[in-house]
Protein backbone atom coordinates (compact mmCIF):
# COMPACT_ATOMS: atom_id res chain seq x y z
CA UNK A 1 0.00 0.00 0.00
CA UNK A 2 2.70 2.45 1.10
CA UNK A 3 4.96 1.36 -1.73
CA UNK A 4 2.15 1.86 -4.23
CA UNK A 5 1.47 5.34 -2.90
CA UNK A 6 5.15 6.27 -3.16
CA UNK A 7 5.26 4.96 -6.74
CA UNK A 8 2.24 7.01 -7.68
CA UNK A 9 3.54 10.15 -5.99
CA UNK A 10 6.78 9.72 -7.91
CA UNK A 11 4.77 9.42 -11.12
CA UNK A 12 2.89 12.62 -10.22
CA UNK A 13 6.18 14.43 -9.61
CA UNK A 14 7.77 13.05 -12.78
CA UNK A 15 4.86 14.15 -14.98
CA UNK A 16 4.67 17.51 -13.20
CA UNK A 17 8.39 18.09 -13.76
CA UNK A 18 8.11 17.30 -17.46
CA UNK A 19 5.12 19.61 -17.82
CA UNK A 20 6.83 22.52 -16.06
CA UNK A 21 10.13 21.99 -17.87
CA UNK A 22 8.42 21.49 -21.23
CA UNK A 23 6.08 24.44 -20.79
CA UNK A 24 8.91 26.86 -20.01
CA UNK A 25 11.47 25.45 -22.42
CA UNK A 26 10.83 27.85 -25.28
CA UNK A 27 10.91 31.59 -24.42
CA UNK A 28 8.84 32.42 -27.51
CA UNK A 29 6.04 30.18 -26.22
CA UNK A 30 5.98 32.03 -22.91
CA UNK A 31 5.86 35.40 -24.67
CA UNK A 32 3.05 34.18 -26.93
CA UNK A 33 1.04 32.86 -23.99
CA UNK A 34 1.28 36.27 -22.35
CA UNK A 35 0.79 38.53 -25.35
CA UNK A 36 -1.93 36.73 -27.33
CA UNK A 37 -4.59 36.75 -24.54
CA UNK A 38 -3.86 40.45 -24.00
CA UNK A 39 -4.52 41.17 -27.69
CA UNK A 40 -7.94 39.52 -27.54
CA UNK A 41 -9.04 41.00 -24.24
CA UNK A 42 -7.86 44.45 -25.37
CA UNK A 43 -10.26 44.24 -28.32
CA UNK A 44 -13.19 43.63 -25.96
CA UNK A 45 -12.11 46.39 -23.59
CA UNK A 46 -12.00 48.84 -26.52
CA UNK A 47 -15.45 47.68 -27.63
CA UNK A 48 -16.80 48.47 -24.14
CA UNK A 49 -14.99 51.82 -24.31
CA UNK A 50 -16.59 52.63 -27.66
CA UNK A 51 -19.97 51.93 -26.07
CA UNK A 52 -19.15 54.15 -23.05
CA UNK A 53 -19.74 51.27 -20.64
CA UNK A 54 -18.66 51.77 -16.98
CA UNK A 55 -14.98 51.20 -16.12
CA UNK A 56 -15.73 48.02 -14.15
CA UNK A 57 -16.39 46.24 -17.45
CA UNK A 58 -12.66 46.50 -18.19
CA UNK A 59 -12.02 44.51 -15.00
CA UNK A 60 -14.71 42.10 -16.06
CA UNK A 61 -12.92 41.44 -19.36
CA UNK A 62 -9.46 41.27 -17.78
CA UNK A 63 -10.56 38.59 -15.30
CA UNK A 64 -12.39 36.68 -18.04
CA UNK A 65 -9.33 36.82 -20.29
CA UNK A 66 -7.12 35.68 -17.41
CA UNK A 67 -9.27 32.68 -16.51
CA UNK A 68 -9.58 31.70 -20.16
CA UNK A 69 -5.87 30.86 -20.04
CA UNK A 70 -6.81 27.99 -17.71
CA UNK A 71 -9.57 26.74 -19.99
CA UNK A 72 -7.19 26.76 -22.97
CA UNK A 73 -4.64 24.84 -20.90
CA UNK A 74 -7.25 22.32 -19.74
CA UNK A 75 -8.47 21.82 -23.29
CA UNK A 76 -5.20 21.51 -25.18
CA UNK A 77 -2.74 20.35 -22.51
CA UNK A 78 -5.03 18.12 -20.45
CA UNK A 79 -7.94 16.93 -22.56
CA UNK A 80 -6.06 16.49 -25.81
CA UNK A 81 -2.82 15.39 -24.13
CA UNK A 82 -3.41 11.64 -24.40
CA UNK A 83 -4.16 12.15 -28.10
CA UNK A 84 -0.80 13.93 -28.55
CA UNK A 85 0.91 11.21 -26.50
CA UNK A 86 -0.62 8.54 -28.71
CA UNK A 87 0.56 10.33 -31.85
CA UNK A 88 4.11 10.58 -30.49
CA UNK A 89 4.15 6.99 -29.23
CA UNK A 90 4.27 7.82 -25.51
CA UNK A 91 0.82 6.58 -24.56
CA UNK A 92 1.78 2.91 -24.67
CA UNK A 93 4.70 3.66 -22.32
CA UNK A 94 2.28 5.18 -19.81
CA UNK A 95 0.14 2.06 -19.95
CA UNK A 96 2.96 -0.38 -19.27
CA UNK A 97 4.34 1.56 -16.28
CA UNK A 98 3.21 0.20 -12.88
CA UNK A 99 1.41 3.39 -11.79
CA UNK A 100 -2.14 4.68 -11.80
CA UNK A 101 -3.22 6.59 -14.90
CA UNK A 102 -4.82 9.09 -12.52
CA UNK A 103 -1.35 9.80 -11.07
CA UNK A 104 -0.13 10.70 -14.56
CA UNK A 105 -3.16 12.91 -15.14
CA UNK A 106 -2.70 14.54 -11.73
CA UNK A 107 0.94 15.31 -12.53
CA UNK A 108 -0.10 16.85 -15.84
CA UNK A 109 -2.81 18.88 -14.11
CA UNK A 110 -0.50 20.19 -11.37
CA UNK A 111 2.18 21.12 -13.89
CA UNK A 112 -0.44 22.87 -16.03
CA UNK A 113 -1.77 24.74 -13.00
CA UNK A 114 1.71 25.99 -12.05
CA UNK A 115 2.55 27.10 -15.60
CA UNK A 116 -0.80 28.72 -16.28
CA UNK A 117 -1.01 30.44 -12.89
CA UNK A 118 2.34 32.15 -13.55
CA UNK A 119 1.05 33.39 -16.90
CA UNK A 120 -2.38 34.30 -15.51
CA UNK A 121 -0.81 36.52 -12.83
CA UNK A 122 1.10 38.44 -15.51
CA UNK A 123 -1.99 38.76 -17.75
CA UNK A 124 -4.07 39.98 -14.79
CA UNK A 125 -1.41 42.46 -13.73
CA UNK A 126 -0.78 43.77 -17.24
CA UNK A 127 -4.49 43.97 -18.10
CA UNK A 128 -5.32 45.78 -14.86
CA UNK A 129 -2.44 48.22 -15.35
CA UNK A 130 -3.08 48.90 -19.05
CA UNK A 131 -6.81 49.52 -18.71
CA UNK A 132 -6.84 50.88 -15.16
CA UNK A 133 -9.41 48.25 -14.22
CA UNK A 134 -10.81 49.06 -10.76
CA UNK A 135 -10.41 46.06 -8.40
CA UNK A 136 -11.83 45.96 -4.85
CA UNK A 137 -10.71 42.95 -2.81
CA UNK A 138 -12.23 42.94 0.68
CA UNK A 139 -11.77 39.22 1.33
CA UNK A 140 -8.54 37.92 -0.26
CA UNK A 141 -8.99 34.47 1.26
CA UNK A 142 -12.43 34.14 -0.34
CA UNK A 143 -10.87 35.13 -3.67
CA UNK A 144 -8.21 32.45 -3.18
CA UNK A 145 -10.84 29.86 -2.24
CA UNK A 146 -12.88 30.65 -5.36
CA UNK A 147 -9.77 30.47 -7.51
CA UNK A 148 -8.72 27.09 -6.06
CA UNK A 149 -12.20 25.58 -6.41
CA UNK A 150 -12.46 26.82 -10.00
CA UNK A 151 -9.10 25.38 -10.93
CA UNK A 152 -9.79 22.00 -9.30
CA UNK A 153 -13.19 21.75 -11.02
CA UNK A 154 -11.72 22.76 -14.40
CA UNK A 155 -8.86 20.28 -14.23
CA UNK A 156 -11.22 17.52 -13.04
CA UNK A 157 -13.20 18.22 -16.20
CA UNK A 158 -9.92 18.08 -18.13
CA UNK A 159 -9.17 14.65 -16.64
CA UNK A 160 -12.59 13.43 -17.76
CA UNK A 161 -12.07 14.78 -21.27
CA UNK A 162 -8.57 13.26 -21.41
CA UNK A 163 -10.03 9.76 -21.20
CA UNK A 164 -12.56 10.55 -23.93
CA UNK A 165 -9.93 12.12 -26.20
CA UNK A 166 -7.64 9.12 -25.73
CA UNK A 167 -9.38 7.09 -28.40
CA UNK A 168 -9.82 9.98 -30.82
CA UNK A 169 -8.01 10.26 -34.10
CA UNK A 170 -7.74 13.58 -35.89
CA UNK A 171 -11.23 14.52 -34.67
CA UNK A 172 -9.53 15.29 -31.32
CA UNK A 173 -8.14 18.44 -32.91
CA UNK A 174 -11.56 19.52 -34.20
CA UNK A 175 -13.30 18.61 -30.95
CA UNK A 176 -10.90 20.70 -28.87
CA UNK A 177 -11.42 23.56 -31.32
CA UNK A 178 -15.15 23.06 -31.08
CA UNK A 179 -15.11 23.30 -27.28
CA UNK A 180 -12.99 26.44 -27.11
CA UNK A 181 -15.06 29.43 -28.21
CA UNK A 182 -18.51 28.06 -27.26
CA UNK A 183 -17.24 27.75 -23.68
CA UNK A 184 -15.95 31.35 -23.85
CA UNK A 185 -19.50 32.31 -24.77
CA UNK A 186 -21.47 30.12 -22.38
CA UNK A 187 -19.22 30.82 -19.39
CA UNK A 188 -19.65 34.59 -19.86
CA UNK A 189 -15.94 35.19 -20.18
CA UNK A 190 -16.38 38.70 -21.55
CA UNK A 191 -19.88 39.74 -20.45
CA UNK A 192 -22.05 39.26 -17.34
CA UNK A 193 -24.36 36.28 -17.78
CA UNK A 194 -26.61 37.54 -15.00
CA UNK A 195 -27.76 40.44 -17.20
CA UNK A 196 -31.44 40.37 -18.20
CA UNK A 197 -30.35 40.70 -21.83
CA UNK A 198 -28.92 37.16 -21.79
CA UNK A 199 -31.71 34.65 -22.56
CA UNK A 200 -32.72 32.17 -19.88
CA UNK A 201 -31.77 29.20 -22.11
CA UNK A 202 -28.20 30.50 -22.38
CA UNK A 203 -28.00 30.97 -18.60
CA UNK A 204 -29.31 27.44 -18.10
CA UNK A 205 -26.72 25.91 -20.44
CA UNK A 206 -24.03 28.03 -18.78
CA UNK A 207 -24.72 26.36 -15.46
CA UNK A 208 -23.31 23.10 -16.88
CA UNK A 209 -19.83 24.64 -17.10
CA UNK A 210 -17.72 25.02 -13.92
CA UNK A 211 -15.94 28.07 -15.35
CA UNK A 212 -19.25 29.98 -15.26
CA UNK A 213 -19.51 29.73 -11.46
CA UNK A 214 -15.79 30.32 -11.01
CA UNK A 215 -15.84 33.50 -13.08
CA UNK A 216 -18.98 34.75 -11.40
CA UNK A 217 -17.56 34.20 -7.92
CA UNK A 218 -14.11 35.61 -8.66
CA UNK A 219 -15.57 38.72 -10.31
CA UNK A 220 -17.95 39.36 -7.42
CA UNK A 221 -15.09 39.12 -4.93
CA UNK A 222 -12.47 41.02 -6.92
CA UNK A 223 -14.52 43.64 -8.80
CA UNK A 224 -17.58 44.17 -6.61
CA UNK A 225 -15.84 43.58 -3.29
CA UNK A 226 -18.35 40.95 -2.15
CA UNK A 227 -17.60 38.24 0.42
CA UNK A 228 -18.27 34.59 1.15
CA UNK A 229 -21.86 35.35 2.25
CA UNK A 230 -22.79 36.63 -1.17
CA UNK A 231 -21.00 33.98 -3.23
CA UNK A 232 -21.77 30.82 -1.24
CA UNK A 233 -23.91 29.48 -4.09
CA UNK A 234 -20.89 29.57 -6.43
CA UNK A 235 -18.82 27.74 -3.78
CA UNK A 236 -21.49 25.03 -3.46
CA UNK A 237 -21.85 24.66 -7.24
CA UNK A 238 -18.10 24.27 -7.76
CA UNK A 239 -17.85 21.77 -4.87
CA UNK A 240 -20.61 19.69 -6.47
CA UNK A 241 -18.76 19.77 -9.79
CA UNK A 242 -15.59 18.52 -8.09
CA UNK A 243 -17.40 15.74 -6.20
CA UNK A 244 -19.01 14.50 -9.41
CA UNK A 245 -16.21 15.05 -11.93
CA UNK A 246 -13.24 13.46 -10.14
CA UNK A 247 -14.77 9.95 -9.64
CA UNK A 248 -16.35 10.21 -13.09
CA UNK A 249 -12.92 10.91 -14.61
CA UNK A 250 -11.50 7.82 -12.91
CA UNK A 251 -14.38 5.67 -14.13
CA UNK A 252 -14.18 7.05 -17.68
CA UNK A 253 -10.44 6.49 -17.81
CA UNK A 254 -10.76 2.80 -16.88
CA UNK A 255 -13.68 2.33 -19.24
CA UNK A 256 -11.98 3.98 -22.21
CA UNK A 257 -8.72 2.14 -21.55
CA UNK A 258 -10.53 -1.21 -21.64
CA UNK A 259 -12.45 -0.17 -24.74
CA UNK A 260 -9.22 0.93 -26.39
CA UNK A 261 -7.58 -2.38 -25.60
CA UNK A 262 -10.53 -4.37 -26.97
CA UNK A 263 -10.64 -2.35 -30.19
CA UNK A 264 -6.88 -2.01 -30.51
CA UNK A 265 -7.02 1.79 -30.73
CA UNK A 266 -4.52 2.77 -28.05
CA UNK A 267 -1.52 2.63 -30.35
CA UNK A 268 -3.15 3.78 -33.58
CA UNK A 269 -1.47 6.78 -35.20
CA UNK A 270 -2.41 9.06 -38.10
CA UNK A 271 -6.08 8.11 -37.96
Amino acid sequence: MREELVHNLRAVYARLWVRIKGGNREPEWIVAELVIPLLTLSAYVYLYKMLNAPAEFAGFVVIGGTMIAFWVNVLWNMSAQFYWEKETGNLEIYFVTPVSRMAILLGMALGGIVNTTLRAVVILGAGTFLFQAPLIVNEPLTALLMFMLTIIALYALGMLFASLFMLYGREAWHTANLLQEPVYFFSGSYFPLSSQIVPYAVQLLSSLIPLTFGLDGIRRVIIQGQGIREIWLDVVALSVFIIILLPLARFALNYMENLGKKEGRLTLRWQ
Partner: protein, 282 residues
Protein backbone atom coordinates in the same frame (compact mmCIF):
# COMPACT_ATOMS: atom_id res chain seq x y z
CA UNK B 1 0.13 25.91 -67.24
CA UNK B 2 -1.72 22.59 -67.16
CA UNK B 3 0.63 21.31 -64.45
CA UNK B 4 -0.02 24.43 -62.36
CA UNK B 5 -3.78 24.15 -62.70
CA UNK B 6 -3.68 20.43 -61.93
CA UNK B 7 -1.52 21.04 -58.85
CA UNK B 8 -3.83 23.77 -57.53
CA UNK B 9 -6.91 21.64 -58.22
CA UNK B 10 -5.46 18.58 -56.51
CA UNK B 11 -4.31 20.64 -53.54
CA UNK B 12 -7.80 22.10 -53.08
CA UNK B 13 -9.23 18.59 -53.29
CA UNK B 14 -6.64 17.23 -50.85
CA UNK B 15 -7.28 20.05 -48.40
CA UNK B 16 -11.00 19.40 -48.59
CA UNK B 17 -10.48 15.67 -47.95
CA UNK B 18 -8.08 16.27 -45.05
CA UNK B 19 -10.58 18.65 -43.46
CA UNK B 20 -13.72 16.65 -44.06
CA UNK B 21 -12.93 12.96 -43.84
CA UNK B 22 -13.11 12.86 -40.04
CA UNK B 23 -16.84 13.44 -39.79
CA UNK B 24 -20.12 13.12 -41.62
CA UNK B 25 -21.25 16.23 -43.54
CA UNK B 26 -23.76 17.36 -40.91
CA UNK B 27 -21.23 17.30 -38.06
CA UNK B 28 -18.72 19.01 -40.33
CA UNK B 29 -21.22 21.78 -41.11
CA UNK B 30 -21.97 22.21 -37.40
CA UNK B 31 -18.25 22.43 -36.70
CA UNK B 32 -17.84 25.09 -39.36
CA UNK B 33 -20.73 27.04 -37.88
CA UNK B 34 -20.25 26.70 -34.13
CA UNK B 35 -16.86 28.35 -33.72
CA UNK B 36 -17.43 31.53 -35.75
CA UNK B 37 -21.01 31.80 -34.51
CA UNK B 38 -19.80 31.59 -30.89
CA UNK B 39 -17.36 34.40 -31.62
CA UNK B 40 -20.18 36.48 -33.10
CA UNK B 41 -22.45 35.74 -30.13
CA UNK B 42 -19.75 36.81 -27.66
CA UNK B 43 -19.21 40.11 -29.45
CA UNK B 44 -22.97 40.54 -29.95
CA UNK B 45 -23.74 40.15 -26.25
CA UNK B 46 -20.78 42.32 -25.25
CA UNK B 47 -22.27 44.94 -27.55
CA UNK B 48 -25.81 44.63 -26.21
CA UNK B 49 -24.77 44.66 -22.55
CA UNK B 50 -22.19 47.40 -23.08
CA UNK B 51 -24.84 49.49 -24.85
CA UNK B 52 -27.39 48.91 -22.07
CA UNK B 53 -24.95 50.16 -19.42
CA UNK B 54 -23.35 52.80 -21.65
CA UNK B 55 -24.42 55.16 -24.40
CA UNK B 56 -27.47 53.22 -25.58
CA UNK B 57 -28.01 50.88 -28.50
CA UNK B 58 -26.90 52.04 -31.93
CA UNK B 59 -28.11 49.84 -34.84
CA UNK B 60 -25.43 51.31 -37.12
CA UNK B 61 -22.62 50.30 -34.76
CA UNK B 62 -24.22 46.88 -34.30
CA UNK B 63 -24.15 46.38 -38.08
CA UNK B 64 -20.54 47.62 -38.09
CA UNK B 65 -19.58 44.96 -35.52
CA UNK B 66 -21.75 42.26 -37.11
CA UNK B 67 -20.20 42.61 -40.57
CA UNK B 68 -16.64 43.09 -39.31
CA UNK B 69 -16.69 40.05 -37.05
CA UNK B 70 -18.36 37.86 -39.68
CA UNK B 71 -15.94 38.69 -42.51
CA UNK B 72 -12.97 38.29 -40.16
CA UNK B 73 -13.54 34.54 -40.67
CA UNK B 74 -11.41 34.82 -43.82
CA UNK B 75 -8.41 35.96 -41.79
CA UNK B 76 -8.78 33.25 -39.14
CA UNK B 77 -9.39 30.44 -41.62
CA UNK B 78 -6.63 31.36 -44.09
CA UNK B 79 -4.09 31.92 -41.30
CA UNK B 80 -4.99 28.66 -39.59
CA UNK B 81 -4.85 26.65 -42.84
CA UNK B 82 -1.55 28.11 -44.03
CA UNK B 83 0.16 28.20 -40.65
CA UNK B 84 -0.62 24.55 -39.90
CA UNK B 85 0.15 23.35 -43.43
CA UNK B 86 3.95 23.07 -43.25
CA UNK B 87 3.89 21.51 -39.79
CA UNK B 88 1.23 18.97 -40.74
CA UNK B 89 2.80 17.96 -44.04
CA UNK B 90 6.39 17.93 -42.79
CA UNK B 91 6.24 16.68 -39.20
CA UNK B 92 2.87 15.00 -38.82
CA UNK B 93 2.17 13.21 -42.10
CA UNK B 94 5.78 13.44 -43.37
CA UNK B 95 4.78 14.08 -47.00
CA UNK B 96 6.32 17.51 -47.60
CA UNK B 97 9.48 16.08 -49.16
CA UNK B 98 7.38 14.07 -51.64
CA UNK B 99 5.37 17.15 -52.53
CA UNK B 100 8.58 19.13 -53.03
CA UNK B 101 10.01 16.43 -55.31
CA UNK B 102 6.86 16.10 -57.43
CA UNK B 103 6.75 17.83 -60.87
CA UNK B 104 4.40 20.61 -59.75
CA UNK B 105 5.86 23.45 -57.67
CA UNK B 106 5.07 23.42 -53.96
CA UNK B 107 4.16 27.13 -54.23
CA UNK B 108 1.11 26.16 -56.30
CA UNK B 109 0.36 23.32 -53.92
CA UNK B 110 0.36 25.76 -50.97
CA UNK B 111 -1.79 28.16 -52.97
CA UNK B 112 -4.28 25.33 -53.62
CA UNK B 113 -4.45 24.47 -49.93
CA UNK B 114 -4.95 28.18 -49.15
CA UNK B 115 -7.83 28.33 -51.65
CA UNK B 116 -9.39 25.41 -49.82
CA UNK B 117 -9.17 27.55 -46.67
CA UNK B 118 -10.93 30.36 -48.58
CA UNK B 119 -13.65 27.92 -49.63
CA UNK B 120 -14.15 26.74 -46.05
CA UNK B 121 -14.19 30.33 -44.80
CA UNK B 122 -16.88 31.20 -47.35
CA UNK B 123 -19.05 28.33 -46.10
CA UNK B 124 -18.50 29.49 -42.51
CA UNK B 125 -19.28 33.09 -43.46
CA UNK B 126 -22.60 32.24 -45.12
CA UNK B 127 -23.66 29.99 -42.24
CA UNK B 128 -22.62 32.56 -39.62
CA UNK B 129 -24.40 35.44 -41.37
CA UNK B 130 -27.55 33.33 -41.73
CA UNK B 131 -27.63 32.09 -38.15
CA UNK B 132 -26.44 35.45 -36.81
CA UNK B 133 -29.43 37.19 -38.41
CA UNK B 134 -31.71 34.41 -37.19
CA UNK B 135 -30.54 34.73 -33.59
CA UNK B 136 -30.11 38.49 -33.24
CA UNK B 137 -32.85 39.75 -35.53
CA UNK B 138 -35.53 37.09 -35.24
CA UNK B 139 -34.95 35.55 -31.80
CA UNK B 140 -33.72 38.62 -29.88
CA UNK B 141 -35.63 41.22 -31.91
CA UNK B 142 -32.64 43.40 -32.76
CA UNK B 143 -32.97 45.32 -35.99
CA UNK B 144 -29.81 44.97 -38.06
CA UNK B 145 -29.94 47.72 -40.71
CA UNK B 146 -28.74 45.55 -43.58
CA UNK B 147 -30.73 45.33 -46.79
CA UNK B 148 -29.66 41.92 -48.04
CA UNK B 149 -31.08 42.43 -51.53
CA UNK B 150 -29.56 45.89 -51.89
CA UNK B 151 -25.92 44.88 -51.47
CA UNK B 152 -23.55 46.72 -53.79
CA UNK B 153 -21.78 43.71 -55.28
CA UNK B 154 -18.98 45.20 -57.48
CA UNK B 155 -17.03 46.83 -54.58
CA UNK B 156 -17.84 43.84 -52.34
CA UNK B 157 -16.38 41.33 -54.79
CA UNK B 158 -13.41 43.56 -55.59
CA UNK B 159 -12.60 44.03 -51.91
CA UNK B 160 -13.02 40.32 -51.21
CA UNK B 161 -10.65 39.44 -54.05
CA UNK B 162 -7.96 41.94 -53.07
CA UNK B 163 -8.32 41.12 -49.37
CA UNK B 164 -8.12 37.38 -49.87
CA UNK B 165 -5.02 37.72 -52.08
CA UNK B 166 -3.49 39.86 -49.35
CA UNK B 167 -4.31 37.35 -46.58
CA UNK B 168 -2.90 34.49 -48.68
CA UNK B 169 0.30 36.54 -49.10
CA UNK B 170 0.48 36.89 -45.30
CA UNK B 171 -0.10 33.12 -45.17
CA UNK B 172 2.96 32.59 -47.40
CA UNK B 173 4.99 34.63 -44.91
CA UNK B 174 3.77 32.28 -42.16
CA UNK B 175 4.65 29.25 -44.32
CA UNK B 176 8.14 30.67 -44.82
CA UNK B 177 8.63 31.21 -41.09
CA UNK B 178 7.33 27.70 -40.38
CA UNK B 179 9.74 26.18 -42.90
CA UNK B 180 12.68 27.79 -41.10
CA UNK B 181 11.44 27.10 -37.56
CA UNK B 182 9.50 24.44 -35.72
CA UNK B 183 6.63 24.35 -33.24
CA UNK B 184 5.58 27.97 -33.69
CA UNK B 185 2.64 27.28 -35.99
CA UNK B 186 -0.03 27.76 -33.32
CA UNK B 187 1.29 31.04 -31.99
CA UNK B 188 1.81 32.51 -35.49
CA UNK B 189 -1.87 32.06 -36.31
CA UNK B 190 -2.91 33.62 -33.01
CA UNK B 191 -0.44 36.51 -33.27
CA UNK B 192 -1.55 37.50 -36.77
CA UNK B 193 -5.26 37.04 -36.03
CA UNK B 194 -4.93 38.84 -32.69
CA UNK B 195 -3.09 41.85 -34.11
CA UNK B 196 -5.46 42.18 -37.06
CA UNK B 197 -8.49 41.77 -34.74
CA UNK B 198 -7.31 44.47 -32.36
CA UNK B 199 -6.00 47.04 -34.83
CA UNK B 200 -8.08 46.28 -37.94
CA UNK B 201 -11.31 47.98 -36.87
CA UNK B 202 -13.08 44.62 -36.76
CA UNK B 203 -15.50 45.11 -33.86
CA UNK B 204 -14.90 48.74 -32.90
CA UNK B 205 -13.95 51.88 -34.77
CA UNK B 206 -10.16 52.44 -34.84
CA UNK B 207 -10.68 56.00 -33.52
CA UNK B 208 -11.12 54.46 -30.04
CA UNK B 209 -7.50 53.30 -30.13
CA UNK B 210 -4.65 55.51 -28.91
CA UNK B 211 -2.91 57.49 -31.67
CA UNK B 212 -0.11 54.93 -32.13
CA UNK B 213 -2.78 52.23 -32.47
CA UNK B 214 -4.56 54.25 -35.13
CA UNK B 215 -1.29 54.56 -37.04
CA UNK B 216 -0.93 50.77 -37.02
CA UNK B 217 -4.57 50.46 -38.07
CA UNK B 218 -3.99 52.76 -41.05
CA UNK B 219 -1.11 50.58 -42.24
CA UNK B 220 -3.09 47.32 -42.19
CA UNK B 221 -4.89 46.06 -45.30
CA UNK B 222 -7.74 44.60 -43.23
CA UNK B 223 -8.83 48.11 -42.18
CA UNK B 224 -9.56 49.04 -45.81
CA UNK B 225 -10.85 45.56 -46.65
CA UNK B 226 -13.53 45.73 -43.94
CA UNK B 227 -14.33 49.38 -44.60
CA UNK B 228 -15.17 48.67 -48.26
CA UNK B 229 -17.13 45.55 -47.35
CA UNK B 230 -19.22 47.51 -44.84
CA UNK B 231 -19.92 50.25 -47.38
CA UNK B 232 -20.94 47.62 -49.94
CA UNK B 233 -23.10 45.49 -47.65
CA UNK B 234 -24.80 48.51 -46.06
CA UNK B 235 -25.04 50.06 -49.55
CA UNK B 236 -23.74 53.39 -48.30
CA UNK B 237 -22.75 56.15 -50.63
CA UNK B 238 -19.21 57.22 -49.86
CA UNK B 239 -16.54 59.07 -51.76
CA UNK B 240 -13.86 57.13 -49.86
CA UNK B 241 -14.45 53.79 -51.64
CA UNK B 242 -11.97 54.59 -54.42
CA UNK B 243 -9.37 55.76 -51.90
CA UNK B 244 -9.93 52.68 -49.72
CA UNK B 245 -9.62 50.41 -52.77
CA UNK B 246 -6.42 52.17 -53.72
CA UNK B 247 -4.94 51.73 -50.21
CA UNK B 248 -6.06 48.09 -50.14
CA UNK B 249 -4.38 47.54 -53.51
CA UNK B 250 -1.15 49.21 -52.36
CA UNK B 251 -1.01 47.22 -49.10
CA UNK B 252 -1.79 44.06 -51.06
CA UNK B 253 1.15 44.65 -53.43
CA UNK B 254 3.45 45.35 -50.46
CA UNK B 255 2.28 42.17 -48.73
CA UNK B 256 2.74 40.07 -51.88
CA UNK B 257 6.31 41.34 -52.31
CA UNK B 258 7.08 40.61 -48.66
CA UNK B 259 5.43 37.18 -48.92
CA UNK B 260 7.45 36.22 -52.03
CA UNK B 261 10.73 37.42 -50.49
CA UNK B 262 10.21 35.62 -47.16
CA UNK B 263 9.04 32.41 -48.85
CA UNK B 264 11.95 32.37 -51.33
CA UNK B 265 14.49 32.97 -48.55
CA UNK B 266 12.86 30.15 -46.56
CA UNK B 267 13.00 27.81 -49.56
CA UNK B 268 16.67 28.61 -50.12
CA UNK B 269 17.54 28.04 -46.45
CA UNK B 270 15.42 24.88 -46.35
CA UNK B 271 17.35 23.36 -49.28
CA UNK B 272 20.69 24.51 -47.91
CA UNK B 273 20.09 23.29 -44.34
CA UNK B 274 18.04 20.18 -45.12
CA UNK B 275 14.84 21.44 -43.50
CA UNK B 276 12.34 20.09 -46.02
CA UNK B 277 12.25 16.62 -44.48
CA UNK B 278 13.08 17.74 -40.94
CA UNK B 279 11.58 15.47 -38.29
CA UNK B 280 10.17 17.07 -35.18
CA UNK B 281 8.60 14.26 -33.15
CA UNK B 282 6.01 16.87 -32.39
Amino acid sequence: MNTILRTVKQAIWLGWKVETNWADPLIFAIYYLIRPLSGLLIVGFVFLIGSAFGAGFSPEYFAYMFIGNSFFIYVVQIMMTMSMLIHDDRAHYEVLKHIYLSPGSWTWYILGRALNGVMNASISLLLTLGFGVLIFQHALGIQIPINWVGINFPPLLLSLTLGIVCFIAIGFILCGINIMTSKVQFMLTDYVSGILYLFGGVIFVPQVLPSWGQTISNALPITYFLRIIRLAVLNMESSSVEADLFYLFITMIATIILGVVVFKIAEYKARRDGLIDKKEEY
